[in-house]
């Protein structure tokens, strides 16, 4: 054990200095969801498969849909991304979702006007 201790005296800590030094997320990481309204066909398969009912697809007009994603309910399993037949949903690498206001965790993706994502 002593050998190990002496070895590590001169080494840097094994931890990262988080806010200054950010970790690179691996490809395929399941972070915050992104919705492409123009691809959605309104089949609502994502709504049906979501284990926590965190996603709601609303019909605005013909072939125009909006997605309401409740990020505080979402468990980031990525099942909706797998279920979507038109690839209208995507997992991003965004992990910094902390908010003091719970209302800000309700994200709306709407087609018109131009990807207005209320943050």
């Amino acid at each position: 054990m002593l050998k190990e201790v002496l070895n590590h005296i001169m080494k840097k800590p094994a931890t990262n200095l988080y806010p200054a030094q950010k970790l690179q997320m691996p490809p395929g990481f399941r972070g915050k969801l992104k919705f492409y309204p123009e691809r959605c066909i309104g089949c609502k398969l994502c709504m049906r498969d979501c284990p926590t009912q965190a996603i709601t697809i609303n019909k605005l007009e013909d072939n125009k849909f909006e997605a309401v994603i409740e990020l505080d309910r979402c468990i980031y399993c990525g099942q909706c991304v797998d279920s979507c037949p038109k690839k209208a949903l995507e997992s991003t690498k965004d992990v910094e979702l902390t908010q003091l206001d719970a209302h800000k965790l309700r994200v709306v993706f709407r087609a018109q006007p131009e990807n207005n994502s209320k943050k």
Partner: protein, 411 residues
């Protein structure tokens, strides 16, 4: 168990030595423990009932969150039962990927346990080292599955992600580093005087008691019970893979430490074989949304022991009954036995030695009286005697079975 000489103190539900809420009522005579009452149910989340209200695909993610450490164990165990009911032929490659993740999970669980055990005996340096090395395997899991904890790799009929050659090489590289570190931990566990003296003779569970109390996993294997679901009733790709089941004769916490660190070495061998033998081909087949009526029981060797899931389906999208028996539930009776006649100071490490997961274990039974408009929570003892009575009234007598069983142990 209570008399005037004894002193009864409650440990928990909130206690610095235990990370999860669980209440132990300890009867003490001086420093000695005369008896322990375990009260389950603080962390009960009603997952089994919640599963019945959701579809099979949704259940997968719920089941995965029964436990953060054996999340792949629970989801694979559940999915094996569902696939058996549906009669799905899972592609070979998917089975190999499941095996790979399962072994990586075992490595991370055992390293985590080693750190916790170090912490419970006041050897925090070991905790820091073990958890730093655990980061390697956590990063590998994140790389392969997209998440560090709830992997979400299983889906009904296969797995969700394929493994590329670069990823496989990265895993092999990580395994090489971990193997060297594990050799060092084996050295520490077998040669370090503090660990040996602190853990030897603590939490003794003899071979007979391990069989009688139905201990599972490393707890049983440290009492020389040669049982492992991976070998005895092989699932996933374990049928094609050669490995040894590690057992130990020490019968105590020290033996459990040795079993766990040696199992790590077996896991590295399994991973190497899996990556070498992994066939090409599809990773999943399309599964129906409605699972035909039927029932299945599935077993799985989780890092902590045998995990059992029972699923009953009635032909709809939702299961009719899901029953989970997590390994801690099987081991909790053994803890009671291990603690009797031991010192109070040994309690944290004896409990930690089975690697408890109380949120997997917690059970709660309430009785509703429709006439009286009142609910009552039934205690563990009352439930135990109720179940004995229930079976006896149906003509099943456990006394004869117990006798037969004890004869078998002797013979």
């Amino acid at each position: 168990m209570h008399n005037s000489n004894e002193f009864k103190i409650p440990l928990g539900p909130q206690h610095p030595a235990l990370k999860e809420p669980e209440s132990f009522s300890v009867a003490l005579k001086g420093e000695k423990i005369m008896g322990v009452d375990i009260r389950l149910g603080y962390n009960h989340r009603g997952i089994e009932k919640a599963c019945e209200e959701r579809t099979y695909i949704q259940d997968m993610y719920l089941i995965e969150r029964i436990c953060g450490i054996c999340s792949h164990s629970h989801s694979t165990c559940f999915i094996q039962a569902v696939e058996e009911i549906a009669g799905l032929e899972v592609p070979k490659r998917a089975l190999y990927i499941r095996t790979l993740i399962a072994e990586l999970e075992r490595i991370h669980s055992h390293l985590l346990w080693l750190g916790v055990a170090g912490h419970e005996i006041g050897f925090d340096t070991l905790l820091m080292y073990a958890w730093r090395d655990r980061e390697i395997v956590m990063d590998m899991l994140a790389e392969l599955t997209g998440n560090r904890v709830n992997y979400g790799i299983n889906t009904i009929g296969g797995v969700r992600r394929n493994i590329t050659r670069e990823q496989a090489e990265k895993v092999l590289g990580g395994i090489k580093t971990l193997e060297e570190r594990t050799k060092y931990y084996i050295e520490v566990a077998t040669e370090e005087v503090t660990i040996r003296k602190r853990l030897s003779g603590v939490g003794v569970l003899s071979y007979e008691d391990a069989l009688r109390l139905d201990a599972v996993g490393p707890t049983a294997r440290a009492s020389n019970v040669n049982r492992d679901v991976r070998r005895d009733d092989h699932y996933a790709a374990y049928g094609d893979i050669r490995f040894e089941v590690v057992t130990d004769m020490h019968n105590d916490v020290y033996g459990r430490t040795i079993v766990r660190v040696k199992e790590l070495m077996e896991s590295y061998q399994i991973i190497r074989q899996v990556l070498q033998k992994m066939p090409d081909g599809p990773i999943s087949i399309k599964a129906p949304r409605q699972i035909p009526a039927g029932e299945a029981l599935s077993r799985y060797e989780a890092p902590r022991g045998e995990d059992v899931h029972y699923v009953k389906s009635n032909g709809t999208e939702k299961p009719e009954r899901v029953k989970v028996r997590a390994p801690t539930l099987a081991n909790i009776q053994a803890v009671k036995h291990m603690l009797a006649d031991r010192y109070l100071a040994d309690m944290p490490i004896v409990i930690a030695a089975i690697d408890p997961c109380f949120s997997c274990t917690d059970r709660l039974v309430t009785i509703e009286y429709p006439n009286k408009r009142k609910n009552e929570v039934i205690s563990w003892q009352a439930l135990h005697s109720y179940s004995i009575e229930w079976h006896r009234s149906r003509g099943i007598d456990f006394r004869a079975l117990n006798k037969k069983f004890s004869e078998r142990i002797k013979g």
